[in-house]
Structures are given as structure tokens and as C-alpha cells.
């Protein structure tokens, strides 16, 4: 069952669409599925999107979220857009490092750095 509360807040800047993940923990399949349902339409409706995903509020996630990020990355790049991740805390960054996904995703400390990295 999807949760009633929104799991992303979307902000628009001149250079990018910023999806702020609002849940502190992203655990089971339903939460990952709800997140996917929120983000994928943003990408499909905006080919060439410059998408920044802000993880500042996220304190815990599982490998299911990593799988979702791979799917999102593929969709963004299919539309010749750009994806940046930012605001990832040190514990979660370790998960990216262990799985070597820090080599796959363009990860920045903060939103400003992510914005400045866009081509």
C-alpha cells in the first residue's frame, strides 16, 4: 500500500529539476515503487531533463533503492538528460562505495555543487 505522505518534493530552477526525497527511510518494495511512480513521470514528460536528486533527508535506504536509481539513470540518459545526486550522508555514501555505484553516479556534496556541474 502506498503511503499517504508525498515521498518527493519537486523544485524547479532555471537549470534543473530538483527532486528532494522527503522520507528519512526508504525500505520496502511499496516505498520504492511509490518513489518510482513519482519520479519516472518527471523524466518521461521532460526529455533532456537535468535532474538533481537531493538525499539530504534520507538516513537509510536498501539495495532496492540502488536498483531504482539505476533505472532512473537509464531513463534520464535515454532522453539525453543529465542526472546528479547530492546531499548523501556518509553512511549511505559508504553503500554506494561498497557497491561501486559511486563510479556510476555523478555525486555531489550539495545542491549548489550539483547545479554547477551541469553542462
Amino acid at each position: 500500500m502506498d503511503k499517504a505522505k508525498p515521498n518527493i518534493a519537486v523544485e524547479y530552477t532555471e537549470a534543473a529539476t530538483v527532486a528532494v526525497l522527503t522520507d528519512d527511510k526508504i525500505l520496502d518494495e511499496s516505498e520504492v515503487s511509490a518513489l518510482e511512480s513519482s519520479i519516472v513521470p518527471l523524466i518521461e514528460q521532460n526529455p533532456g531533463i537535468n535532474l538533481i536528486m537531493d538525499f539530504s533527508s534520507v538516513e537509510f535506504l536498501t539495495s532496492s533503492v540502488l536498483g531504482l536509481l539505476i533505472r532512473i539513470s537509464k531513463k534520464v540518459h535515454e532522453g539525453e538528460g543529465q542526472l546528479r545526486l547530492c546531499g548523501i550522508n556518509s553512511k549511505i555514501l559508504d553503500i554506494f562505495r561498497i557497491t561501486r555505484l559511486d563510479k556510476v553516479f555523478d555525486i555531489h556534496e550539495g545542491r549548489q555543487e550539483a547545479l554547477e556541474s551541469l553542462e
Binding site: 525500505l27 520496502d28 518494495e29 511499496s30 537509510f60 536498501t62 539495495s63 532496492s64 540502488l66 536498483g67 531504482l68 539505476i70 533505472r71 537509464k74 553512511k91 553503500i95 561498497i98 557497491t99 561501486r100 555505484l101 563510479k103 556510476v104
Partner: protein, 164 residues
């Protein structure tokens, strides 16, 4: 082991995210109450989520009619937890390495690596439907408990027997 100084719990629940989530919360609460620090709790939580997800999704194939057993013991120095499903099991040695280039963009296959990275011991029974994991309190990491495999086998047999 002095039974007065250990907490032993066995829960057998239906293979649903809600039921499994309840057990995870109970186990994490027990660990926090018994002196595991925030880094330990993060590690246990991650390994537990990955192991139970594998049991629900891959072991029991999403069949909520099947059961999952979670058996944990907490002592002054470590947590032992075994998670058993009713599936056919798998061979962990045959898992592809998700870190090599050809697998890096795959959407799944990272759970066991994370379990192995965050726990001190991760081992499977011969059938591959029961994972036994150990986490020592920060600073108390020790050699793997050799008895773990036997316990994993025992849990599997008990769960299988409960179906008969």
C-alpha cells in the same frame, strides 16, 4: 553461554513486508536496548532488510502464504540472527559480482554483498534457504562462530518440520 545473560527470540511470520517489517523493528529495538551503538544498528538494519527482502522475494517468491522464521540471540558481545524461508534455496557461491563492469548497471544483485560488508559473519545452510549472520558490538569483532552453520541447518529443519 549463561542463559541469564542472553536474549533469545524466535518469530515465525507470514511472508509479507508488513509482518517482516514488524519483526525487524522488534529485533532492532532489542539490539539498541542491549548496547549496540548507532553504527551497529545501521549495519544490522541494512543486513536484516536485505536478508528478509531476499527471503520474501526470492525465497518464498512473494507468496504471503509461506512463512519466514527469524531467530535471534543477543548477548553482551554480539547478535546472532538466522532468517529462514520456505524456498528451494540458492548457492551463494554462484552469485555474480555486482561490482564488475558488466554487472554494474544491473538493477539487482547487491543485497548479499551488503550483508557481507556490514556483518561480521554471513553464512548459508547447505540448502541455501537459511542465512545466519553475526554482528559483534563495535570493538568486539572476533573470529566467525563456527557453530553458526549448524544452527542455520537446525532452523531450516525446524521450519520444514512445521510444514509437515
Amino acid at each position: 553461554m549463561d542463559p541469564k545473560n542472553c536474549l533469545h527470540t524466535v518469530e515465525v511470520v507470514s511472508s509479507s513486508p508488513e509482518q517482516v517489517g514488524r519483526i525487524c523493528k522488534q529485533l532492532l529495538s532489542d539490539a539498541a536496548a542491549n548496547g549496540f551503538d548507532a553504527d551497529d544498528i545501521f549495519a544490522i538494519h541494512l543486513a536484516l532488510e536485505e536478508a528478509t527482502l531476499n527471503a520474501v522475494r526470492h525465497g518464498n517468491k512473494g507468496d504471503a502464504g509461506k512463512k519466514i522464521s527469524v531467530d535471534w540471540t543477543i548477548t553482551g558481545e554480539k547478535l546472532d540472527v538466522s532468517i529462514t524461508d520456505e524456498g528451494c534455496g540458492f548457492d551463494p557461491d554462484c552469485l555474480a559480482d555486482c561490482r564488475v563492469d558488466e554487472n554494474l548497471y544491473k538493477c539487482c544483485g547487491r543485497g548479499v554483498l551488503l550483508m557481507q560488508s556490514y556483518m561480521d559473519t554471513v553464512e548459508y545452510n547447505q540448502r541455501g534457504n537459511c542465512v545466519h549472520m553475526v554482528k559483534f558490538k563495535c570493538g568486539l569483532r572476533a573470529d566467525a562462530d563456527k557453530a553458526g552453520v549448524h544452527r542455520a541447518e537446525q532452523n531450516s529443519e525446524e521450519l520444514n518440520a512445521s510444514d509437515d
